[in-house]
Point group: C2
């Protein structure tokens, strides 16, 4: 099995060195770059004649200068093949999602034992993803049925109309599609607006796409 090339970006020297020592001790793991900030990392990545190979990267969020989340974009630009693992003390939802949306592939709590982090690196390099359980829970909750404020307040017919609106159809096309008069379409939409407390197509589409309707 080939070596896995790692990078760490972490400002706390204690954590950084303990990771470096523990993970570096494994024969299949080796460090390409160890940095204290994203800026530092990018600079070190420029230095060598040829760009170093990095398979998996451990990235802190709370960094001096550019935050880890901002850093993800820059790093992915230069290292599109690298799997980025956020390693952080915070489990705030918005940080988790911002990280994932920016392109991180895993999100691990710093409280996680080193041995588990090591396992995670192998898992990730195999094409998987490792999430701390509490973080995974937050992620799956994002898919879950929402609070259902509007649930069942729209009749089946009204839901069809909303679907059509979301598909970008005009009143005329909706009328054709559902084989009803355009005035009836207007009528439905009037009622939908009242029910959803909106007053434009745009807002309906937004609500629908945000999952605020069903």
């Amino acid at each position: 099995m080939e070596n896995i090339h790692l990078a760490i970006v972490e400002d706390d020297p204690v954590i950084r060195e303990s990771l470096e020592t523990y993970l570096g001790a494994h024969p299949a793991l080796q460090f390409s770059i160890v940095a204290g900030s994203v800026e530092d990392f990018l600079e070190k990545a420029e230095k060598p004649a040829r760009v170093p190979k990095i398979d998996v990267m451990l990235l802190d969020i709370g960094l001096p200068g550019m935050s880890g989340i901002e850093g993800i974009r820059h790093i992915r630009q230069k290292f599109p093949e690298t799997d980025i693992v956020m390693l952080t003390t915070f489990e705030e939802e918005d940080k988790i999602f911002k990280s994932l949306c920016s392109g991180a592939c895993s999100y691990i709590s710093k409280r996680t034992p080193l041995s588990t982090i090591q396992e995670a690196i192998f898992t990730i390099h195999r094409g998987g993803s490792f999430m701390s359980p509490s973080i995974a829970r937050k992620v799956v909750q994002h898919f879950m049925p929402k609070a259902r404020k509007e649930e069942d307040i729209l009749s089946p017919r009204q839901q069809q109309i909303v679907e059509a609106l979301v598909d970008g159809l005009s009143y005329k096309l909706i009328a054709d599609k559902l084989s009803i008069s355009i005035d009836t379409v207007r009528d439905h939409i009037k009622r939908i607006y009242k029910l959803l407390e909106v007053n434009s197509k745009a807002e309906v589409i937004r609500k629908a796409l945000d999952g605020d309707i069903y």
Copy 2:
């Protein structure tokens, strides 16, 4: 530590019984209901005078009768407190997401060792979530920056306009917000339509909310 009450819905008797035997052997785990289909499960859940307690439920997808995914809704209606774990051979993306959207909290491959499944149950009962690594990867990829078809094709100003459209603002309000003439707003939007190859506000909002723009 209190006992964890389990349920299994799985049509394959071999798998069902091996789970029952292995997991049931643990002193902290006990089975409330074991069923071969969702229908079977719901019937058994009705029988006793008082509704049985179920903390964690293992649910197969490929079931006779109602599929596991359909079943999630019915089960959550009756057992809103139960954490539902999909346990399945399939790792198809749409099934994963349909399950999560219906309210499953974890998704585990049947190839996973029994000991890991057992650990997962404890993790889940603690309020976490367990995903097989390959499945977790598919989940996080859903958050990742998309194929970037439209990336960078919109100028910063155009992106501001799109944002405003998504917020449901009219041309007039956008003009006020950006302190420009309404005709200029029209002008921007004309160009945006050409770039995105659409011809209505609705489609722009859809694209933006689907992440097809940035």
